[in-house]
């Protein structure tokens, strides 16, 4: 039974001002600050001390507000980022420094980082890198790879510089100020105080049948506002990101297919929720035998998860050219291997969250998302409403990395708002987020590669099975992408690659930076090293020999006559490769327990959807007052679309980037710029922005009848054009405004030119690829099995770096995720469902990273630019595995290469 609560008023100092609030017994300080006192600059990522996002200063000392009892601050001083920023010069300087280094990407970790850093800087004006790490070690960041944060705190010279922001220049994030002063509003920051909350009831078992007792009497007895189940779905109880594969229910009916699957939701006041014991919800579970690996799932008699998917095979992918078997037989040397990887969690610091309300009879959903228009598509089906009755207004997104492409909280919010007619909110707990969101696909890959004596690959045969979990999500995309990319960026004329996605009673695996390619790259790049060594060829030179080039067909038979930058990436690593391998050799001569190794690996990634249309539309215009507005609907999830797309647009129009008024994504207002995935926003939406900027410029030049190279200035109700003939003025006040208050407008769409793949996977899947090669130096403690990367050199062909600082930011963040995948991350349902047991890299785990930007322009990219978002982590894990191999002679074929695994393999080799 609920116990009566004795709240108490507590008095303390909040940001140097007296504050009073009623605290319930045991209430967390984080909640008191955010809900009772409006301090939403205090972020919550885990409620367990594991992420540090909630860091505040208590009497000047950093503590986790989520672990501090509100009563403990009675009579003491609490400071949060927003207060520090307002009051303290040091905080303002630090905020500037964060901006100048691109140290805030999505910005969800930034309050915790900055508050911790200010505590350090108050006592230490010139901290060393190690001091910064010790001070910030308790705050996780999933976006930046931490190096920029270290630079910002030690006060390294600024990277960003003032300027017009034209393409190729490093300006600060245009949407960055609110991320460093505490005012950015993420998914859980937009709901009004006191609105109804939603709690989702989830399956405690991987597979279970269930029955509800009388839900109406539960609602009556408890006074909850509403209970939602499948019965409340007016449309169809189904969603999925790929129309042919839609298979996931909003609420399971009769049987659940993975641990954490939703069956019902309770909508109630926050007072009710604070004492609600989920065990009191009237549901009875019956656990059923579950299939939790792909081998069992394919056995005869295994439970079939979905009708029509025999043998639990969701779908497959296939690419072949030449004759792989003949090529292998003709090889002078062959290598083969069996590689495995587990589930990887996206680990964004912002759990899924949002708020919904009914406005003029329409339902409005404000939530963190990577794909607002896809959210709208899904809700239309689920709610059974006309599209015009739904509005999606994305909030700031505290990291996504692929998982926020799928809907999560959106249907619960919309259903609850419709059923109650009242504003509602939800924020997943960390465990709920980890249980229910998609994961990187576990892989089980067999690969055989052969080469001739000169080192040319003669044959390549790849077979990979992927655990796609209980529902399809983006599994079909993984199945398709892998065979296209499994060759790596190399010319291979005898090739066969087959993939399969297999259903199990595991969490749905979906999109995660790279869509299966990081997994296949581990197999391919590891075996490349083994093959090179077997042939007696230097591993880097071996890759250069086989590197794809302009005019040479890919394994899909696609020929790029320009823009293939892999050789340039590999050659850029040569100096570091030579000096670091020599240094490692010298080191190892005197070191017995610690062994040093240098590893390299390469990668490529096709930008945009595989052989499918994926248009982006960008609209722009001029207001009567002379302001230029850009309707930018491409979601910025921290990667920088707001800045980069504006830079491209501004360059095309011929004005400074910071003069543009940007209108963010809103399905009522911005045209569809597609989803933030497939490394497509810079390339595809960037092109749409370029076209829109060019079109607007053309329109203006025509209307003003001035020279093509005229310089345009906007302001004060007019446009001024300056050309060889002098100044021309265009009075905007005389022009008619359209219903969006624009006097001039240009809306343009870009869709990458691709061709379908035939039954052998031959065609033109992408209009462009980006290329990458990484080098890493690791120290392996051979007695303990610990692996410590000490340096990365990363060469990336981005075609054209629209904003070099942000390119570096992507590279650093990708490397950090690749390192996590290589060394520590594995999601095990029921066992690593929090950030205490599921480890992602901390600030102490990421060594210095040297980024080499290669610009091999692409004919299709805006100003030559290529996508980058996913390329950045593809080579990292295999480079680390190759470095471990170089250091110890041990070939690790399973990630994560935990200390336990590495040491076990070393012992096996010693025997």
């Amino acid at each position: 039974m609920n116990k009566p609560f004795f709240s108490q008023q507590i008095a303390f100092e909040l940001n140097t001002q007296p504050a009073r609030a009623d605290a319930t017994p045991g209430q967390r300080l984080s909640e008191l600050l955010r809900e009772n006192l409006g301090a939403r600059d205090v972020k919550i990522g885990c409620d367990a001390g594991d992420c540090g996002a909630c860091t505040v200063l208590l009497d000047g000392q950093p503590v986790c507000a989520c672990l501090t009892a509100a009563h403990q601050v009675e009579g003491r001083s609490v400071e949060t980022l927003a207060g520090l920023y307002r009051a303290e010069e040091k905080a303002k300087r630090l905020a500037d420094s964060f901006q100048n280094h691109g140290a805030a990407q999505c910005g969800i970790c930034t309050p915790g980082m900055m508050v911790s850093a200010i505590a350090l800087l108050r006592n230490n004006d010139a901290p060393t890198e190690d001091e910064v790490k010790d001070a910030l070690g308790g705050v996780l960041c999933r976006c930046t790879g931490y190096r920029k944060i270290i630079d910002a705190v030690v006060g390294a010279p600024a990277i960003a510089h003032d300027g017009d922001g034209s393409v190729g220049t490093s300006i600060r994030r245009l949407d960055g100020q609110c991320k460093v002063d505490g005012t950015e509003a993420f998914g859980d920051d937009v709901a009004p105080v006191g609105c109804l909350e939603i709690f989702v009831i989830r399956s405690p078992f991987a597979r279970a049948s269930f029955t509800f007792e009388n839900l109406a009497s539960f609602a009556d007895a408890t006074g909850v506002e509403a209970v939602l189940t499948a019965d409340d779905i007016a449309g169809r109880n189904i969603f999925g990101v790929i129309p042919q594969f839609m298979d996931q229910p909003v609420f399971a009916e009769a049987e659940t297919r993975f641990r954490g699957e939703a069956v019902a939701a309770v909508v109630a006041t926050s007072e009710f929720m604070s004492t609600f014991d989920p065990r009191s919800f009237p549901v009875t579970w019956t656990e059923m035998p579950a299939t939790q690996n792909i081998h069992d799932a394919q056995k005869d008699g295994a439970v079939q998860l979905h009708h029509g998917r025999d043998g639990n095979v969701m779908c497959g992918g296939f690419v072949t050219c030449g004759d792989a078997q003949a090529g292998l037989s003709a090889a002078s040397k062959t290598v083969e291997g069996h590689f495995k990887s587990g589930f990887v969690e996206h680990g964004y610091i912002e759990p899924e969250a949002g708020f919904a309300q009914i406005v003029n009879g329409r339902v409005e959903v404000h939530a963190c998302t990577q794909a607002p228009v896809m959210d709208l598509d899904s809700l239309q089906i689920i709610l059974g409403l006309d599209r015009s009755q739904i509005r999606i207004v994305p909030t700031a997104v505290g990291g996504g990395f692929g998982s926020k492409l799928d809907i999560s909280v959106q249907p619960y919010l919309a259903l609850a708002a419709l059923k109650t007619g009242k504003p509602v909110r939800i924020c997943y707990s960390r465990t709920e987020s980890m249980q229910s969101s998609t994961k990187r696909h576990p892989s089980d890959i067999r690969l055989k590669i052969g080469a001739d004596a000169e080192g040319r690959i003669t044959g390549f045969d790849f077979y990979g099975e992927f655990d796609t979990g209980a529902y399809a999500s983006w599994g079909p995309t993984v199945a398709n992408r892998v065979p296209v990319h499994a060759s790596g960026p190399y010319a291979i004329s005898n090739y066969r690659a087959e993939s399969k996605g297999i259903h199990t009673h595991n969490p749905p695996a979906g999109a995660f930076r790279g869509f299966g390619v990081p997994q296949s790259a581990i197999a391919q790049e590891s075996l490349f090293d083994d093959l090179a060594r077997k042939l007696g060829i230097d591993p880097l030179e071996f890759r250069i020999i086989n590197a794809l080039e302009d005019g040479v067909p890919t394994v899909c038979g696609q020929v790029f006559d320009q823009g293939v930058g892999i050789t340039a990436c590999l050659k850029a690593l040569r100096p570091a490769w030579q000096s670091e391998t020599a240094a490692a050799k010298a080191f190892n001569e005197t070191s017995t327990t610690i062994k040093r190794g240098v590893g390299i690996a390469a990668g490529w990634y096709g930008c945009g959807n595989t052989s499918l249309p994926n248009p982006s539309t960008i609209k722009s215009g001029v207001r009567p007052d002379g302001r230029v507005v850009l309707y930018q609907g491409a979601m910025d999830i921290g990667q920088g679309a707001n800045t980069v797309i504006t830079q491209i647009f501004a360059t095309a129009l011929g004005v400074p980037a910071d003069s543009i008024s940007r209108i963010g994504a809103d399905t009522d207002v911005t045209p569809d710029a597609g989803k933030t995935s497939a490394s497509r926003q810079t390339y595809v939406s960037g092109n749409a922005a370029r076209l829109s900027g060019e079109a607007l410029r053309r329109l203006i030049l025509e209307r003003m009848n001035v020279a093509r190279d005229a310089e345009l200035t906007f302001g004060d109700g007019e446009i001024v054009a300056t050309d060889a003939e002098g100044e021309h003025r265009f009075d905007l006040s005389k022009l008619a405004c359209d219903d969006e208050r624009l006097v001039l407008r240009a809306e343009e769409t870009y869709d990458p030119p691709t061709r379908p793949l035939d039954e052998n996977g031959q065609g033109a899947p992408y209009a462009q690829f980006g290329y990458a090669a990484h080098l890493v130096v690791v120290d392996v403690d051979t007695a303990m099995g610990t692996v410590k990367p000490t340096k990365f050199v990363a060469a990336h062909d981005v075609g054209r770096a629209i904003n070099p600082m942000m390119v570096e930011g992507q590279v650093h963040g990708g490397i950090a995720q690749g390192l996590g995948m290589a060394l520590m991350e594995e999601y095990v349902p029921g066992r690593t469902e929090n950030l205490h047991d599921y480890l992602i890299p901390t600030i102490g785990d990421i060594p210095p990273i040297e980024t080499i930007i290669i610009e091999e322009p692409d004919a299709h990219g805006p100003y030559g630019a290529k996508g980058l978002g996913e390329h950045v982590l593809i080579p990292t894990a295999p480079a680390i595995l190759n470095a471990i191999n170089a250091a110890t002679g041990v070939r690790i074929t399973r990630v994560p290469a935990t200390p336990s695994l590495v040491r076990t393999e070393i012992r096996k080799a010693q025997r």
Binding site: Q8, C64, A135, T786, V828, D837, T842
Partner: protein
């Protein structure tokens, strides 16, 4: 349900005698283990009780009040025998955790991976308990913790402090922690070593404790006995010295792995303590 922050120890013991409450110090274990919708009758906060935030040194005893945080330990001026405890403090979680979390909370939480337990065992620490009904009692740490998350603490009882007999001034110490990442990491295994060396660099006193390799961290008496009279570099860690350990397989590492690396960890901790 209420939240009570007594300032006097007697008041605290009176509160505890009322029934099933939850003692809270730093809250760094209390909150993460809290279950939705399950609340104690009351929280009793020990952090405002007079005197409990003090570290005091008398002729024979170093006393750590139960509200002493890891940060307090880092900042305290203690002898070299406490270097291991200080090193432990720096390795607990993060600065945020160290600023809030207490040594006593770490011991009471009784996790097999509690980093504080091995160095305290190596310091021969005792736990000082008090209740209104039974007054106070003093128990060696090894008797206080009885298993995974279980102690002899009675429902109406609290830990008032930890006592360490003043160690010889020549005693040095070291702490080794193995984890899969740099910060915020629960130990795969950890070892604390306290040593006294004679002028000949031979070990005359040794206390070696290992954690996360059994339900409760423990000293390794056979190993301790074997190193007496040896020079640190000559120490050999024979498998039979580790016989008391019963490591398990979990997400952090395999049992066989723990067994294997703890030998190296003991060796390193001995060398490190000897080099101080």
């Amino acid at each position: 349900m209420s939240y009570i922050s007594p300032t006097k120890i007697d008041e605290a013991l009176e509160v505890l005698s009322r029934g099933s409450g939850k003692i809270i110090a730093g809250g760094t274990d209390v909150y993460p283990s809290a279950q939705l919708g399950q609340h104690p009758d009351f929280y009793m906060d020990v952090t405002r009780i007079d005197g409990l935030k003090r570290i005091s040194v008398s002729k024979d005893i170093v006393h750590f009040g139960s509200a002493v945080t890891w940060t307090d330990i880092i900042n305290a001026d203690l002898g070299s025998a406490f270097d291991a405890l200080k090193a432990t403090a720096r390795e607990v979680g993060s600065v945020q955790i160290q600023n809030a979390a207490t040594l006593a909370g770490n011991v009471c939480n009784a996790s097999p991976a509690a980093d504080g337990v091995p160095p305290l065992l190596a310091l021969d620490a005792s736990v000082e308990l008090a209740s209104r009904a039974q007054g106070s009692r003093l128990l060696p740490l090894a008797e206080f913790i009885t298993g995974v998350r279980s102690t002899v603490l009675r429902r109406d009882e609290m830990v008032v402090g930890l006592q360490v007999p003043v160690p010889p001034s020549t005693m040095t110490s070291a702490f080794e922690k193995l984890g899969s990442r740099r910060y915020l990491v629960i130990s795969i295994c950890m070892t604390a070593v306290n040593l006294v060396l004679d002028q000949d660099n031979r070990i005359t006193d040794a206390r070696i404790a290992v954690g996360a390799c059994s339900a409760v961290a423990q000293r390794l008496p056979a190993l301790e006995a074997s190193v007496i009279g040896q020079r640190p570099a000559d120490v050999e860690i024979k498998p039979e010295f580790l016989a008391p350990l019963t490591p398990i397989n979990d997400v952090r590492g395999a049992a066989a792995y723990r067994y294997d690396v703890v030998q190296e960890q003991c060796r390193r901790a001995i060398m490190q303590a000897a080099s101080r």
